[in-house]
Amino acid sequence: MPAASPALVVRDLRVDLAPRGAPIVADISLTLAPGEILGLVGESGSGKTTLANALLGYARRGTRITGGSVLVDGQDILALTDGERRAARGRLIAHVPQDPAMALNPLARIGGSLSETLAIHRRELPPAARAAAVAAALADVGLPNDPAFLRRYPHQLSGGQQQRVLLALAFILRPRVIVLDEPTTALDVITQAQVLDLIRGYCREQGVAAVYISHDLSVVQDLVDRAAVLYAGRLAEVADSRAIFAQPMHPYTRGLLGAMPGVDRRHALSHIPGHAPSPGQRPDGCAFAPRCARATDLCRATEPRLTEGVSGTFVACHHPLLQTPLERRTAQPSTPAPADRPALLTAAGIDAYYGANQVLFDVGFSVQARQCTAIVGQSGSGKTTLARALGGLGSAVTGELVIGGTPIGIGSSPRARDLRRRIQYIFQNPFRALNPRQNVADNLVAVVRHFFPVSAQEARERARAAIARVALPATVLDRRPGKLSGGERQRVAIARALLCEPEVLICDEITSALDVSVQAAVLDLLMRLKAEGLTILFVTHDLAVVRVIADHIIVLKDGRIVEQGEADAVLDRPAHAYTRRLIADSASAAELALAS
């Protein structure tokens, strides 16, 4: 270990649920040197936010920190009195929250928020020095610091600017350690790259240690020096960045990396069966054992401790894979459509408005049958408006749409029922896509009987078949959507669409809200459906997902198509500057280095 004293030392940190006591995270031990960035990776439910909060000695309502120590510069945060801990937050160890739009007080002006932090923590500063510090902090994060900007409210800033303000709030007191809780998840790819650059630069220059929490491994790749993988509240693996991506030791890490899509190359994704246990439902022995192909009786009986694998790396597994490089298979390349086949779906001259603003300008394209066409754009590009218009919603849309030679109304213009049946739509948010008051069977049967004149029994049979087709157990039929996970709900939504026997399936960012492994499973399902004859229109902002699934790609910027063509061709040799930028910001340098 380096000679300089570590900035952060965590030993045996444990957080439990408050009334009963099932652990949320346990046995967390980490060390960070000054200037070092540690990436903490975990899927939803792994306890990463709880851990982030615990590093500052904060436990949300309903949770309690029950053990361990967190030493920042030698001081144990957990052992301080309330007042001392409050003073330490911000000065010694700072926190950058996740969703910038929600994390800023809507009633506080930007300048005011920054001043306030200084006023509380550094009372000795006279007002003039305080103002200067505020200006310096804003300059540090690349924001203007003129009085007009300081008087702005959070809602008057863009998402990227809001996140920079949060970073300024963390940097302003020059803490020793910064904990970043998924700060770029809510941002688009280009802004995300800028913010990550900012963080990296600041940490190096100031010698500040950072813990960067994320569910997205690819984001973490470029930024971090070391990475730790969190599963079911415990550390599965800790190793330096290169090692963990090239030679992961824990089966879970390998599974996670195997499910990760990449922009550079069309990977064949694998996914981990089952899902992670929630607190209170963790089995005896290794928490990952039920899902692990290598599990033995030892794994099911005894919980593995974090031990040193190869030098400098740690893994909690009874049968770790040491010095085994990760092999990733390449999938079939995209298939260009045969030139003579007529397009299944053609759109022409689509204009759309949101209030007084125009959001789509003369958009036209065609979609081939049995192919996956990806519509790629960042937020504000108009892709959701376009998808909804194709699906049959939206009143301020004009244009022509033809499916299989038959013209069809666009947006909320009247559509014949049979034509509606042929185009189906899956929403991004699986938690609101199903009627919470009806169980799954009712949701599905209603749709079947709407389009087909069949008896209730026949409808239920079809529902059962559709559920099986999306690889869900039949028990799902009698449950309410509230009892299903995000991935399960999304599959039910797909089953509902399939029951209409559609020709085209429009998927609007359907995997954005899902964990990486679940996303891989859903993408796998879509590719199977495509092989069975379905045409897919996949709307997304994530170029890595596009590389996995698309045959044809359309790039949308500010309501206009800037580039379109065969997927692999466009991604390997982009013609338009915007596309080049998107690709550059999506791929990580390490990824590209690994590819070569």
Partner: protein, 354 residues
């Protein structure tokens, strides 16, 4: 109006404002719209009041002349009073008088109805202000304390008490209070102002307070509880800000908008509850005046009271809406992408020429 050569012709108010370097605030179009809507509401209310009083089964002419008057005399008076004209005409005529404060004379005492009502209104408003001045801070402190100490024994006991008081109808409370303090009850001397007899105000005020306090307290508690769950509150805690500051400077201001709306609702409840309470305690406010006027079919007084009460409620709601906008920067600063914003933008464009 002098115009500079080449400059667009001035458009009146907006240009003059701009010339005086007063920027039009973003919410001005919204306020103008709300004033218009409020005015329309009052107009509709006046129509309802007028039509309702028309249905009173009584003949003003006969009431004035007395039951012994001959039919012929009554008919002549009706003609004189203009009671035979079409209703719409009568309505507009009435409206014109009302607009300048002339409701006619009370059929009962023959003094101008408006003056009579205003005097009584003063009494009621005094009571109402007294109640609200006490209730608002009490509800606030109680509500904040309950929200901060959520689920503690204090919170749960207070909640039970509030639910209990909220359920019981006001006059039941009034009667119970009378019984409780039966020795202290005395008749109010009409010639003395309410402020000269503060002790007497206590009973009706307490009744109204018990009517409104539970509602306001629970509203504050609920709003603050929800606000305290917000991400920016947790973020503030993680920045090391003291809890007291977070509650009072971060959470409470954000929790206010629904409370303000609730406050407007509370004044409406007090006005409604005052009716019964004034009758029970023989308090000379507009509630008991209305009751008496209805009994004696004193139409001008009834119209005056009903209309003035409604206007008061509309006004209070407008103030509450305005306060909400002031408290929500998002509504204050950005223009919405709908018609209203167009008006505002056009106003600014026209004004910003020079």
């Amino acid at each position: 109006m002098a115009t500079q050569a080449g400059a667009p012709p001035s458009v009146g108010i907006v240009d003059r404002w701009q010339a005086a370097r007063l920027p039009l605030p973003g919410w001005f179009p919204w306020l103008a719209g709300r004033l218009l809507a409020g005015f329309g509401t009052v107009l509709a209310v006046s129509a309802i009041v007028y039509l309702a009083t028309l249905a009173l089964p009584s003949d003003p002419a006969r009431v004035i002349l007395g039951p012994e008057a001959t039919d012929k005399a009554v008919a002549i008076l009706r003609e004189q009073l203009g009671l035979n004209r079409p209703i719409a005409v009568q309505y507009v005529d009435w409206l014109r008088h009302v607009a300048v404060g002339d409701f006619g004379n009370s059929l009962d005492s023959n003094v101008p109805a408006f003056g009579l009502v205003i005097e009584r209104l003063g009494n009621s408003i005094a009571l109402m202000i007294f109640v609200l001045l006490v209730t608002a801070p009490a509800a606030f402190l109680l509500g904040v304390a309950m929200a901060v100490k959520r689920d503690s024994r204090f919170d749960r006991t207070a909640m039970t008490l509030l639910i209990g008081f909220k359920a019981v109808p006001p006059f039941a409370i009034a009667v119970a209070l009378i019984l409780l303090f039966s020795t202290a009850v005395s008749i109010l001397d009409p010639s003395l102002s309410p402020f000269a007899q503060p002790l007497y105000l206590v009973l009706p005020a307490t009744t109204l307070l018990l009517l409104v306090l539970p509602f306001l307290t629970r509203l504050i508690r609920a709003s603050l509880t929800e606000t305290l769950e917000a991400d920016y509150i947790a973020a503030a805690r993680l920045r090391g800000l003291p809890e007291r500051r977070i509650v009072w400077r971060h959470a409470v201001p954000n929790a206010l908008p629904p409370v303000i709306q609730g406050f407007a609702m509370a004044t409406r409840m007090v006005l409604g509850g005052a009716l019964i309470v004034e009758v029970v305690f023989s308090y000379p406010g507009i509630g008991s005046a209305l009751n008496a006027a209805i009994e004696t079919r004193d139409i001008p007084v009834v119209q005056a009271i009903a209309l003035l009460t409604a206007i008061a409620v509309v006004f209070i709601n407008l103030v509450a809406d305005f306060a909400t906008v002031l408290l929500t920067p998002r509504l204050r600063t950005t223009t919405r992408p709908r018609l209203r914003s167009g008006t505002g933008a056009r106003l600014r464009l026209r004004a910003g020429g020079a």
